[in-house]
């Protein structure tokens, strides 16, 4: 879905890994956080592209919007990935964690490698887009219906075994996946950044509901301090 967002990109800037908070109709009270997948800026008006899966009432409403509909969108929110245009990254995405990684791929213009995990072949998304923007794209599916049969962390281990020169591993997906990827990256001595999910209220850091525990015993907030954190900071055992 492409959102026309006026001058949002030009005035606020967008980094890969940031998200928007979208009001999904009158029936639901809370906004829904969705990662920014791609963006463009131009005098005629900036755009954001979001890619999402229908999970419940809110995303179902959003998916039903006709072209030309006006939506109430707050953003860009959060801190994106710390990433250099000149860097070379190993991008790891799982399920609905895949879309934000495309932003990273575009940002680094073809030099990065992507490892993408899906439940099955018919759940894959954005493969062509990644193909165009990455040096290499590796696929894993839980059921083996496409690519590697298993989880992405095995592919990450294999890739880092082959080549430790990546500037960093950047990952987005469910917490257990992030935990395994972080472990593999740490073992390989490659820095790792992870984009976390948590249920949100305000989306801007005021209500403190989106807390996630840090290794140093403090808590941080996914919406404001994240969604991207250094894998080292995170308390993976909480």
């Amino acid at each position: 879905m492409v959102l026309a967002v006026g001058d949002m990109v030009r005035t606020s800037g967008v980094r890969p890994g940031q998200f928007v908070h979208i009001k999904c109709g009158e029936g639901t009270l809370l906004r829904r956080p969705i990662s920014i997948c791609e963006w463009t800026e131009s005098r005629e008006g900036d755009t954001l592209t979001i890619v999402f899966e229908v999970r419940g009432e809110g995303t179902a409403w959003l998916a039903r919007r006709p072209a030309g509909h006006t939506a109430d969108v707050l953003g860009p929110l959060g801190n994106g990935f710390a990433i250099d245009r000149e860097g070379r990254y190993l991008l790891v995405g799982g399920g609905i964690g895949v879309p934000p990684m495309l932003g990273c791929a575009r940002y680094t213009g073809g030099t990065s490698t992507a490892i993408l995990g899906f439940r099955s072949k018919d759940k894959t998304i954005l493969l062509d887009e990644f193909g165009g923007d990455c040096n290499d794209v590796q696929i894993a599916t839980d059921d083996g219906s496409l690519g590697y049969h298993g989880f992405v962390d095995a592919l990450v281990r294999q890739e880092l075994g082959r080549d430790r020169s990546y500037d960093a591993v950047l990952a987005c997906g469910p917490k257990p996946m992030l935990k395994s990827v972080a472990k593999v990256a740490a073992e390989s001595n490659v820095p790792c950044q992870v984009s976390m999910e948590e249920r949100m209220g305000c989306g801007v850091g005021a209500c403190l509901v989106c807390a996630t525990p840090m290794r140093d015993g403090t808590v941080k907030h996914v919406c404001k301090d994240g969604p991207v954190f250094d894998a080292e900071e995170v308390d993976w055992d909480a």
């Binding site: 209220g201 305000c202 403190l208």
Partner: protein, 304 residues
């Protein structure tokens, strides 16, 4: 010209719309959306004597026109508030109301002393947080304990007015209100959240990691209006009304029921500008009714 000012326990607010504790942090985030000086007042995030991490996530669940939260008083502690947050809030032309929760009456006393010395405009004594196991909830459901906490707070708050925040999770809220009044409270605020639960039918787990949490948002508005009305008839203290306010009409209802001012909380999660819109909507209603001061709404409901 409509006079929007109100006086809450002697504190002059430029308009009757403040933001509710715990929904506005310490103001830093929403200050990027608008000048905090546009607000009648700010109830800061609930403080405890020592820093707290709060409860594990998920801490929020959505319900029909409401939300459940179980934040559990995550906060940096009263000293850090005074050192780091209060100076920030003090920059704005608005009233700062500190909100405190203690495990013992003594803790409330110590916090009041510190906050009074640091200079806040009002102290809101939360005896009703449903998200902490010790203390909080029991104080709000037993008149004797409510009175004890109020008394200790008053003794230590110096000249700073003390507002006691009541729990709706009681059989008769007027009993607690009277106990707080008897113990010297300068104002009352209500309602805090109503205990509720949501279960994910597929995982069979409560959505909140704490199992239950506090219900807020439009769903609770009619309960808030009823309780403000009951309390305003039972005591003669000024009331800060809250619970589900999302538009001017909601605020007007609470004021007609007896509130001197109102707080907006959950509505901000849908719309960061909600407090300003509530203020403007309230002004529209007062103007349409030809009032010269918005304060004329307070207690104006005529029962049948």
């Amino acid at each position: 010209m409509l006079d929007m000012t109100v006086k809450l326990a002697g504190v002059a607010l430029k308009d009757p719309v403040v933001v509710a504790s715990g929904t506005f942090g310490f103001g830093r985030e929403y200050s990027q959306f608008y000048d905090l000086g546009e607000l009648g007042g700010i109830c800061a995030k609930g403080l405890t004597l020592h820093p707290r991490n709060g409860n594990p996530a998920p801490r929020i669940a959505e319900t029909p026109m409401g939300i459940l939260n179980s934040v559990g008083l995550e906060n940096p502690g009263v000293d850090a508030f005074i050192a780091e947050e209060l100076p920030f809030l003090r920059q704005f032309d608005t009233k700062v109301i500190a909100n405190i929760s203690g495990n013992t009456p003594e803790e409330y006393g110590i916090m009041c002393e510190k906050l009074s010395a640091a200079g806040v405009d009002m102290i809101e004594v939360n005896i009703s947080c449903p998200n902490v196991k010790a203390g909080g909830m029991a104080y709000g459901t037993r008149p004797d304990l409510a009175a004890e906490v109020t008394e200790t707070a008053k003794k230590n708050a110096g000249n700073v007015p003390v507002m006691v925040k009541l729990s709706p999770n009681v059989t008769d809220i007027t009993e607690i209100a009277k106990a707080a009044e008897g113990a010297g409270a300068d104002a009352l605020s209500l309602i805090n959240t109503i205990r509720g639960m949501r279960i994910d039918v597929d995982t069979r787990r409560p959505v909140l990691k704490m199992n239950t949490g506090g219900l807020s948002g439009p769903a609770v508005l009619p309960v808030a209006v009823r309780m403000v009305w009951e309390v305003s008839q039972a005591v003669s203290l000024p009331i800060l009304g809250m619970g589900g306010v999302a538009k001017g009409e909601d605020a007007a209802q609470l004021m007609l029921a007896g509130a001197t001012a109102v707080a907006v909380g959950t509505a901000m999660f849908a719309d960061p500008y909600a407090p300003l819109k509530v203020r403007d909507g309230l002004a529209d209603i007062a103007e349409r009714q030809g009032l010269s001061a918005v304060s004329e709404l307070t207690g104006g409901a005529k029962p049948w």
